[in-house]
């Protein structure tokens, strides 16, 4: 039974991520178009129906599936095939520890809305993110193309650099919430500060959030940190990929966005929490109460999580289509000379505050 539940949750999660990923391919096109006074992809049609280009992801998938699967003759076929799977899987896995709702009681069981509630959930996410580097490196290396390799090296260097900051930036948060479990962190964010402010991570750790968000974007390797791929350059670790293997890398990238959005939501924006919404309904600080049935509350909370994730996806898109790319030295300088000291400072200040006030 437990296995069944887990499997259902896994399927739900994968389904959610895949749908989000597919949608994001569409969103990316449409959003950038709208931002740039264009119309964007809208030509894929089924029987004349175009639905604002919503069929494009489908068309893309079809196209990618039918395309030639090219392996560089001098490259390693096995690793070349393996790499996108590593990249894609590690991207997916990270979401396993993110809670998308409060635990529910069903069939006399408490079911956590989370694939795996690990005590060290946050570490798990980082581990997954760290592993994704293998995908990049192997993809670049196995292509036997110096530009691919350069892209991969850039990716590795960049991911490692920003992993430091991303890790340190959440330490303050962990100190505040005192847990490594994401479900606990999410739960703890339901509290209020001074009785009226939701105790979301962003409230208690604004600097941590900024650092985390910046580093998260860098981890997803998107503009302005897209040097490993560099669409406008020849460099890119998946330069030699085509067909669905390219599709995997590509979808993986979008999945990473969703995962990062989920992580941001879970860590800094209260996870599934809706301000002032408790198990039985709203309780506003000024005393108004509005009782709500449990199912509705739950729906609201899950919806709030999905909405927040969607918002951050949108926001990352906005960032991606707003800023120009960093130069590589700027990228490194920001990582090591900007974010790293700031996150250390953040830990120090947090520590002092905790010491003083507790």
């Amino acid at each position: 039974m437990d296995i069944l539940i887990i499997l259902i949750k896994i399927f739900m999660m994968i389904g959610f991520l895949m749908v989000m990923g597919l949608l994001l391919t569409w969103v990316e096109r449409k959003q950038s178009a709208v931002m740039q006074d264009r119309i964007g992809a809208n030509r894929a049609d089924i029987l004349g129906m175009r639905l604002m280009g919503l069929f494009h992801p489908l068309a893309d998938a079809l196209k990618l599936l039918t395309k030639e699967d090219f392996v560089p003759p001098s490259g390693s076929r096995f690793i070349h095939t393996l790499a996108p799977f590593i990249a894609f899987t590690t991207a997916l896995v990270g979401f396993a520890v993110i809670p998308f709702g409060p635990p529910i009681h069903l069939f006399h069981r408490e079911i956590t809305l989370q694939v795996a509630d690990i005590h060290v959930g946050i570490l798990f996410v980082f581990v997954a993110a760290g592993l994704s580097i293998y995908g990049v490196i192997l993809a670049g290396w196995s292509s036997a193309n110096r530009y691919s390799l350069l892209g991969a090296l850039r990716g590795a260097a960049q991911t490692i650099s920003y992993e430091v900051s991303i890790g340190l930036s959440v330490i303050g948060l962990l100190m505040v919430f005192g847990s490594l479990s994401l479900s606990e962190i999410a739960h703890a964010q339901g509290d209020l500060i001074w009785g009226f402010l939701p105790r979301w991570g962003v409230m208690v750790q604004p600097l941590g959030f900024l650092i985390f968000f910046t580093a998260a974007v860098a981890e997803t390797k998107r503009v302005p940190f897209d040097l490993p791929e560099g669409e406008s350059e020849i460099i890119g670790f998946f330069l030699e990929y085509s067909g669905m293997k390219f599709g995997l890398l590509w979808i993986g990238e979008f999945v990473e966005i969703v995962v990062m959005s989920g992580l941001i939501t879970a860590l800094f924006f209260g996870g599934w929490q809706v301000p002032f919404l408790y198990e039985h309904g709203f309780e506003f600080p000024w005393g108004t109460r509005a009782g709500l049935p449990h199912g509705l509350v739950l729906t609201l909370q899950v919806a709030s999580f999905v909405f927040k994730v969607a918002f951050f996806c949108w926001f990352q898109m906005l960032v991606r289509w707003t800023f120009p790319r960093f130069r590589y030295d700027q990228l490194m300088r920001l990582g090591w000379k900007g974010l790293l000291p700031l996150s250390l400072l953040n830990i120090l200040v947090t520590g002092i505050v905790i010491l003083v006030f507790d």
Partner: protein
Amino acid sequence: METVKKEKRSLGFLEQLYVGEVVKGLAITGRHFFRNLFIHTAHLFGLMKSRKGAVTVQYPEERRVIPAGYRARHRLVRREDGSPRCVACMLCPTICPAQCIHVRAGESPDPAIEKYPVEFNIVLDRCVMCGLCVEACPVDAIRMDTGIVEMSAYDREEFVNRRDLLLGMNPQTPPLPKTRHG
């Protein structure tokens, strides 16, 4: 020559933090996003049709008017008697930065004309549409006024436009509208 040195504006402290600037940038793109999203949505309901949310032209259904002087696909001009006006002087292959024009000259059957192109190939998939060949031509024999902008083929060989094909093309009809610049 005088070199003008532009003083680099030094950034203030707040600017150096970039946070504000980042937000400013996001605000601009965001403004466009929401305004256009609003307009597009309104369009769905048949409102605000007069305001356009996008500048996109829905090619191939919609086509922009090709302005005068637009460098479209090449053609070779004919004389009144139908023979090519080209005198095979090879100035176009000389100037061509993509080296996509190849001419083979031959003795013209008309004694008044020195030579004419026995073969004249424009390899379109190499062409960068710079129009230098048109500029270089001393007899106005090559023009890029066909108005044909679609150039695609299934085979490389199809991109090799040969003399008779080039001679068979016509200038864009109806005549080009006058633009602001005449």
